[in-house]
Amino acid sequence: GAGVSQTPSNKVTEKGKYVELRCDPISGHTALYWYRQSLGQGPEFLIYFQGTGAADDSGLPNDRFFAVRPEGSVSTLKIQRTERGDSAVYLCASHAGGSSEAFFGQGTRLTVV
């Protein structure tokens, strides 16, 4: 596709449930990032993939969060036992490498009730 695509655009879930958020990066971009943006804040780094491997997952807040990218393109962010504090917009970005900028998707707005 022409840009980074994220689905769903909105997700409302009950506390304690499991959710999956999907990111389809720009074709050919090997680098993929997940960020989380809380209301009124800037995005915060969660995890970075280079190809299929999670090269840097130091931003994941705890072990309820996990992400995969099995074939080096689409990535899924998985959140177990969701808590109200997980409510935020989850942004995915992809990058062509070098000094170019990262391109962000529209985000998934997650609301935990």
Binding site: A31, Y33, Y35, G40, Q41, G42, P43, E44, F45, Y48, Q50, A55, D56, G59, L91, A93, H95, G97, S99, S100, E101, A102, F103, F104, G105, Q106, G107
Partner: protein
């Protein structure tokens, strides 16, 4: 840990006037980005600044970088309503993976 501070966090601008918003960061970095975000939308890339003294201009926006002062400015010339948005500064954290640290954003409202 790299910290990015933007100020002012909120700025009301009058149409036709010039304004500057600021981004300071706490440790050395060789890349700085400016993004625009409209309410409910994602981040749109505006500028990538790669070296000390870099200046880039697009329309009414001009961004500059002073790596020695760890400061970037975004100058708005003759503000217009369409420039109302939140502007984020993001700095490469230097891990070699283009991981970015963002500021809280400058929320700009341009009024007639």
């Amino acid at each position: 840990e790299l910290k990015v501070e933007q100020n002012p966090l909120f700025l009301s601008m009058q149409e036709g006037k010039n304004y500057t918003i600021y981004c300071n960061y706490s440790t050395t970095s060789d890349r700085l980005y400016w993004y625009r975000q409209d309410p409910g939308k994602s981040l749109e890339s505006l500028f990538v600044l790669l070296s000390n003294g870099a200046v880039k201009q697009e329309g009414r926006l001009m961004a500059s970088l002073d790596t020695k002062a760890r400061l970037s400015t975004l100058h708005i010339t003759a503000a217009v309503h369409d420039l109302s948005a939140t502007y984020f500064c993001a700095v490469d954290m230097g891990y070699g993976n283009n991981r970015l640290a963002f500021g809280k954003g400058n929320q700009v409202v341009v009024i007639p």
